[in-house]
Structure formats: C-alpha cells, structure tokens
C-alpha cells in the first residue's frame, strides 16, 4: 500500500515536472504549435469587433507570415483565390473583417514535420471555421510551409487540400 502510494506520487510528480519543463523550455514543434494556436485566434473575427481590434488583428496576422508568403486557397462558396505577399494578405484579411460579422477559427489534427536543420517545417492541419449562429461550418484540410525568421516561426506558404472534388 505504502509503496503503491509512493509510486503514484512519484509518477504524478514526474508528470508535473515534465509539463513544467515543456512549458518553460519548449521544443521547436511545441513552439510551432503555440504559434498556430495564436494564428487561429488571430484569424478568428470576434462579433462586433472595433476598428482598433481589426487593426491589431491585422498587424498580428502579418507578423505570423513571411514577406514572400503565398496563399492558395479554395474557399467554400467563393472558389479559388491566390494571394502573394503581405500586402495582398492584409487586403484580403481587411475585406474579411469588413464583410463577415464574426468567425471562429480552430486548427485541428495538427501534424508538424520539422526539416533537418530545424529552420523550415511542414504542417498539415484541418481548419474549422464557424460563422456565428450558422448551422453549417466549413472544414478544410490545409498544408502550410513554415520558415524560421529572426528566431520566430512564420508561415511562408499555405494551400488547401482538396478532400472532395467535382
């Protein structure tokens, strides 16, 4: 009984230590996942967002992408769109903030593959976007290319993967 209790305590202690270690000394994959969590929050559009909120969100979004970013997306009901560079991303994001009354974005099933040298990475994930009050939501599989710039992970390419084609 005593030994089992001590063992259980030791396991819990080791688990807590591991969680704390990962929090304070994250590896590259963990840093990428944190960046992606922040990116999902940034591309979400809160209902009733103020102009200042929009400006802050756009700035944060641009800090998450490289200056040569290329985005190739198939937006449901909207068709295919291609954007290149920060300015086009900014314009597209601004338009989305102006036309949508809100959007909750989540990244699911995130798979990170670091390249040798740990300066670039490929990410496969599922984007779930839910407009407020809507019964239908959008789910798209995406591939991202990430590059490390100034010790920060940034998205250099993003493209949707066709799950169902017509």
């Amino acid at each position: 009984m005593k030994i089992a209790t001590r063992l259980l305590g030791l396991v819990i202690l080791l688990g807590l230590g591991w969680v704390a270690w990962r929090h304070f000394f994250p590896n590259e994959e963990h840093r990428i996942r944190r960046m992606l969590d922040g990116l999902a929050e940034t591309v979400s559009i809160p209902a009733g967002e103020s102009p200042v909120g929009t400006a802050l969100a756009l700035d944060k979004l641009l800090s998450c992408v490289t200056s040569t970013i290329e985005v190739d997306v198939d937006v449901p009901s909207e068709g295919k769109h291609t954007f290149s560079g920060r300015q086009e991303i900014r314009d597209a994001a601004m338009l989305a903030h102006q036309t949508l009354r809100g959007l909750k974005v989540q990244f699911l099933d995130v798979n990170v593959t670091l390249a040798a040298g740990k300066q670039t990475a490929a990410v496969e994930l599922t984007v779930k976007a839910t407009p407020p009050g809507a019964k239908e939501f959008f789910v798209e599989e995406m591939r991202l290319q990430l590059r490390k710039e100034d010790n920060q992970w940034r998205v250099s390419r993003a493209e949707t993967v066709e799950t169902l084609k017509l």
Partner: protein, 190 residues
C-alpha cells in the same frame, strides 16, 4: 500487519472503499488496462463522433452522437447507400496518442456522407436527382430536393461519389463530390 498489506475493509471510510476498492495496486492495474482497451477501441475500432451540421438531415440531426466502425470495410469494399466517414486531415492514430500525452487538442474532423457512386461509374445530377450510368437512382432517404445540377463525372477505379441526404439545401452550401477510397475511414454504426 495484514495478510495482503491492506487494512480490513470495515476500517476504511466508505469513500475510500468506493474509490480504490480492496487493493490500490489492483485498482490501478485494472484502471490502466481499462484505459488502454478503451483508448485502443475508440481510436482503432469504434471511433465516437459528434455530428455537426445539417447536410445529412433528416437521417442524422445536428449535434447527434454516433460511432464510426473502422473495421467495416476490411472484408468488403464500401457499397452504394453506405454512410461513411471521410477523413479530413491525416487521422493518424500515433499523432492522436502523442497529442493526448502532450496535452494538445486531439479532435479530428470527418465528413459523414452517403456513397451513391461506385468506382468506374458515371454520376450526374439532374433537377436534384442523382443519375448513375444514365439511370435515375432511387433514394427513399431524401425527403427534400432543390434543383441541383451536375455535369457527368466519370469515377476512376479507386474513387467514390459521396453526397449528403439533405438535398433541400442550396447546392453551393453542400459539400459533395468525388473522393478517393483511402479517405474512407469507416462506416457509421447506426
């Protein structure tokens, strides 16, 4: 001292007896085995799913709960009329397990759709009615139809045509089309 190292049951408070049973060691082993069996079953055999959206109405309602049988197509390929789960993303079991251990979100997404077209067939839609190889398909599960249109699509050897049961929606709001067989992860249980 007691024979098994544990004090008799009557000397323990009720909550402790209910929580850990007669022996903490045995309870921990049982809990561990149960967790492994449940984890394996829920990822590899019967995957629990929460249905979101209206594209499969009236067969499945928004927010319903179901299971995907991942072993359904081990012995035979998918048939016309089967309601299947199509993976969106990788659906890698090892990734899910490592995500759970690392404390990351382990949610995955899938489309629940009905198979209407099989490999090699030609599918088109006229005024909301699905046609297979030039013959209209009888679909008693479809209760509402809008005038959907789709030009003929020829399916390759490893392709299926899938669609939701709710044809009363706008066509552009309904995700349907051709999928590779490798995207089908299983059959919906009920």
């Amino acid at each position: 001292m007691f024979a098994d190292g544990n004090p008799p049951d009557r000397d323990r408070p009720l909550w402790l007896r209910l929580l850990i049973g007669r022996s903490l060691k045995r309870t921990l082993i049982r809990a561990g085995i149960t967790a492994v069996v449940l984890g394996f079953t829920s990822q590899v055999v019967l995957v629990p799913v929460r249905i979101e959206g209206i594209s499969m109405e009236p067969t499945y309602r928004d927010h319903g709960i179901n299971f995907v049988n991942r072993l359904a197509f081990w012995l035979h390929p998918p048939q016309r009329g089967d309601i299947v789960a199509l993976r969106v993303g990788r659906w890698d079991v090892l990734t899910v397990l490592s995500d759970l251990l690392a404390g990351h979100r382990a949610t995955r997404a899938a489309y629940l759709k009905r198979i209407v077209g099989l490999p090699g067939e030609t599918v088109d839609i006229r005024q909301g009615v699905v046609w297979i190889n030039g013959q209209p398909l009888d679909e008693p599960y479809v209760k509402a139809r809008e005038a959907w249109q789709l030009a003929p699509v020829k399916l390759a050897d490893d392709e299926y045509f899938v669609i939701g049961d709710n044809r009363g929606m706008d066509q552009q709001d309904h995700k349907f089309g051709v999928t590779k067989g490798k995207r089908i992860v299983g059959k919906v249980l009920w």
